[in-house]
Amino acid sequence: MEKTVTGTAHGHGHTHEHTHEELGFWRKYVFSLDHKVIGVQYAITGLLFLLFGFCLMMLMRFQLAYPGHPIPVIGNWFGADKAPGGIMLPEFYNQLGAMHGTIMVFMGVVPLAVGGFGNFVTPLQIGAPDMAFPKLNMMSYWVYFLGGVTMLASFFVPAGAAQSGWTSYPPLSDIATMGQTMWLFGMVFLITSSLLGSINFIVTIVQLRAKGLSYMRLPFFVWAQLVTSFLLLLAFPPLEAAGVLQLMDRLAGTSFFLPSGLMVSQKPLTVAGGGNPLLWQHLFWFLAHPEVYVLILPAMGIVSEIIANNTRKPLWGYRALIYAIIFLGFMSFIVWAHHMFMTGMGTTISAFFQVTTMIISIPSVVILTALLLSLWGASIRFTTPMLFALAFLPMFGIGGLTGLPLGLAPSDIHLHDTYYVIGHFHYVVAPGTIFALFAGLYYWFPKATGRKMNELLGKIHFWGSFICINCVFMPMFIQGLGGMNRRMYDGGMQYAHNAGLLKWNLMIGFAAWGLGLFQIPFIINFFASIKWGALVDRNPWEATTLEWSAPSPPGHGNFLTEPIVYRGAYEYSVPGAAKDFTPQFEPEHA
């Protein structure tokens, strides 16, 4: 189903500065060592997985809106073991749920945000000819691809894909069907890819900055990628270890996560026992909490670039932003057990995690406030990227604020595992991060292709998505506060207390399908503009950062002359200057 769509972004109608022998098709577009090609590979693959994960969700929402009804039109595609007569089986619903989360987080958002944007933009923004380790970069992409294929293939094994949630809690996941084993192997590939990539990013940013580019002159986007890479580097290995342990439980008969005396289908499980299901939860969340900051940090970086550019003002509080993001990265490692308040931990350690969770909201608020204050007194250009970047701010605000009752144990008792949680984290990731990623796609498309995307289609995409996505997720807070549990195949029908909340499932379903329809203008715009978009020069947005000094698209090695940086990253509307922007790369007295 998934094909590799490779470097289609190398523009036509531009001469490339190829100072080496011409590479064949495979070396140039498939097994390329060039960070721009690899970045596009990550981006396109990530977008395809996002679309796939979105389709899984649209199926789930049908089951929730019309429980027990045959899926229209495509219901017979899934076979009798998943949807006999087109009616979704609970097992299939659970597969969709587990894989939707896994695919969106690990195969969609992070590869696009870090692998795609990180790879394409970072070397350009720091004035480097490529990443520090180009071969490692290429390998990272293909290992990611392998992991993605493994995950997709798991749908086709007997009893289907993983179905124990993206969180894969044992004991259930330990005794689940074959799809879970494939999930574990898929995760090992995906984690390895991220680890190798994170090393590449850190070394690149530290070692390959251009002359004059001190840390305090770096675009905030680069700072965000640097902190993100440290999160990936140090938080992922425990999940890799946990994956190995669960594989051992499933394949080698160990009892890492299986307690003594466990009964399955009224029969005792014949294992040694002595294991601890909470061990998995600790190792999983030790990664998964920093992982959510991996999801948001690149988005904050992208939004910052676009806001500065479209307000024609420097970012407010640049230093505060940097200290906040570093502090945020550090704190993200010591809050994880706020996902485990219901596991019976003592009150002292619970208080510890509540305190750290409250503290971590501070740097988030600092960043959001700085970005909001950046709008004050600004001359705003409402381009499509700016619309998405502006929407990010209140959406992330809602997501962040709704997290507070979850971070306090007493309120979490009522809200844990309800639709409130789903509403909270989707607000941060969907109208939050994904909107920021769309903003970035519209913003950097001209650099990658030498052409602009269509503004009208962009605005239709934006407004349609913005309205629909709020209609999808806002009702979930109502459902969750009313006590509706998550991960229920029948939409909550079996519980009397949900009776008044079921009607929201209809609205959410239609909003979700509407959201899907509004992605069509984007998809058409994206591919059509590669061929027919308005041609642009190097700096169509009149921006200040280094990537806009390279040709659009840049050739191999990126810059025609050695880039030198003379000033900070956001010198917009400098008093007395001739233009309303003074690029980093322009010498004094240009």
Binding site: V206, L234, S260, G261, L278, H282, F286, I334, M345, I349
Partner: protein, 110 residues
Amino acid sequence: MQSDPEAIRKSIRTYGIVGGLLLVFTAITVGVNQFHLAVPLAITVALIIATTKGSMVAAIFMHLSHEKKWIYGALLLTVVFFIVLLFVPLATVSDTIGTPTHVAAPAEGH
């Protein structure tokens, strides 16, 4: 590192000496084990010896004793999170240490 041949030859001697010391400490580790100390004391002693050996490997063989700031910084961060990972999960279950896990009596109903 220094590229001066004389300094490097001296380093080679140092490597040999440190290697010998490590073997001695290994013998001590096994020797102390014969005393069957109480578990908390045994753990403390074993970790002290292991940490000493590890520090020598890190400082001398891995040249950490004169490395650059970025390396020190990355490692310091790692050590902090390593300690968190090792001991904080324990803190969340420490109120049940010593209580044997047993199969529950027939459900009391809820």
